[in-house]
Amino acid sequence: MKKVFSIESIDENLLLKFEGKMSLYEVSKYEKKLATVQTTSIKNITIDLTNLDELDTTAAIFIYNIQKEFASKKVTLECHNEKLLSTLELVQENMSHYSENIKPKKLSFLQKLGKIFYDYYDGFSAFIEFFGQLFASNLRYLTSLKNIRYKEIAFEINESAIKALPIVALTSFLIGLVIAYQSAYQLKIYGANIYIVDMLGISIFRELAPVITAIVIAGRSGSAFTAQIGSMKITQELDAMKTMGFEPFAFLVLPRIIALMITMPILIFVADIMAILGGMIVANVDLSISPELFIDRLSRVVAAKHFFVGIIKGPFFAFLIATIGIYRGLIVKDDTQSIGFNTTKSVVEAIFAVIVCDAIFSIAFTNLGI
């Protein structure tokens, strides 16, 4: 179907002629064409739609705008098609109370700054509130063994820990391998090959295995907590649980925290074994220390306390990762972007919290002489 827009201007008269079909794809072109016309000396404008067959609402708004823009001049509309007239009428009806200045005002710099700080304050107090609730429901539910939801805990242990075993094992194996490989090169220079055992033993047991495990779990299970609980909130599942009398803290929060606190030490233990294994392989290949020698020296020079220091950290890290992940899930707002935002935040904050916690442990243990 043809689409024509012609402009004729004779003396004080301007003729705008639309033919064929006019839809939203043509409007921008026509708009530009109309903008080029000198209209200051024009007194009469005729909009000719007699040969127009099709008009959509966008095009009708365009025509309505022409009529409005030149309201000071004499505008006549020539159109005999009932359908087109009724479309124009519908537009006129709905656009008559349109005003451009209804957009919400932009905030000033100070207002924005205030809002940001208030939001932080709000977030912080919400976190404190969450802790209070957690503590209160802990008291309520952990007073009796009957209240503990063993099934949910077992499910979470499988979901967030057992299924995480392969990746934790692989990551720590590689870390052990890399650390040993890098230090082997340095130790060889001094001929201090055998000291690789002391070095690996202490660094892996005390620091590397717990922290690496915590980071993997934060990325894998902490983010999952946020996403699961966040989407449950969006789909109103949390509300449904509350109305049925199922306390979300008992069903969703505590089982996850408890499950992770139970399994974290086990995961760290696995990470210990795998990292030492990685180191042992490098020591054997690179420094020709046989596995027998390696294990023999390990048991003599690395005291058991180093191992226990690492394991003890597990439940603390687990608590931080789980609470942050769950808290972030619970504060998800009613839009999908909020889930992504909070998941990112939960992982970043959990890793940060783990490292801060680790630093505190480090200082405390050193001062205690452990």
Binding site: L24, S28, D56, T58, I61, F62, T87
Partner: protein
């Protein structure tokens, strides 16, 4: 002219057969209803028409194009010519109502910002929303308003073909009747073809020209509402009892 042609459509999810050979055609300018009991696959059929799901066998032609076997460019073209209203609005939750409606206009046309603002205001106005609602987010409005905004978005590009999934469910009775009136008005002015899934008896009698009633995996009845009384189907007899 035929807008939509459904031919021997069979749909099965695994072993569960949903549709077992459906046939009907929808003509231009018609308001066509897909009716049937819950779980009979009305929405599935609608989803197959808008290329969200595939038929197991058979053929759905829309504007002469077989949607099961369509080139990317044709599919894109087709998508610009229809508007779809989902049951719960399906608005983009991170965008305001105005941005939701303006999205296709900004993507597919070169209209000026000012023009788009005006189109948005117009669409909001015809579906019965206020201009001040434009800057709210979907999470800040009620279910009924979301539905109206969803319709405004479906109408944004002035489509020739409109798919509505239970448009009046969840609306108050006044809004529901206004909705029916709007559909009829738009059809009269713009020659819209409307395909809707609905359970609203008032809406069925006020707006629909023809219906297809799906029951027991097959079309139990197809045609105008006038001869529906003669059909021997349990669903039809119960559903239309009040009016028969």
């Amino acid at each position: 002219m035929q807008m939509i042609k459904v031919e021997n459509v069979v749909t099965a999810f695994g072993n569960r057969v949903i549709h077992d050979g459906l046939n009907f055609t929808i003509k231009e300018g018609e308001i066509y209803g897909l009716l049937g009991p819950s779980g009979c696959g009305k929405t599935t059929l609608l989803r197959e028409m808008v290329m969200l799901e595939k038929v197991t066998s058979g053929k759905i032609e829309i504007l002469g194009k077989n949607v099961a076997d369509i080139r990317q460019r044709d599919a894109q073209n087709l998508r610009r010519q229809w508007g779809v209203l989902f049951q719960f609005g399906a608005l983009f939750s991170s965008l305001t109502l105005a941005e939701n409606i303006a999205l296709p206009l900004g993507e597919y046309t070169r209209l000026s910002k000012r023009m788009i603002d005006e189109i948005v205001a117009f669409k909001l106005s015809i579906v019965g929303l206020k201009q001040s609602d434009a800057y709210l987010y979907p999470s800040e409005i009620s279910g009924g308003m979301r539905k109206k905004a969803g319709l405004a978005r479906a109408l944004a590009m002035d489509p020739k073909l409109l798919f509505l999934d239970e448009p009046t469910s969840g609306l108050d009775p006044i809004s529901a009747r206004e909705f029916d009136a709007l559909i009829l008005k738009l059809r009269a002015m713009l020659g819209l073809t409307v395909v809707m899934v609905t359970h609203d008896l008032r809406s069925i009698y006020d707006t629909l020209d023809r219906v297809a009633i799906i029951d027991n995996k097959q079309i139990a009845y197809e045609g105008t509402l006038d001869d529906i009384a003669s059909v021997k189907s349990e669903f039809i007899q119960t559903f239309f009892r009040e009016k028969l």
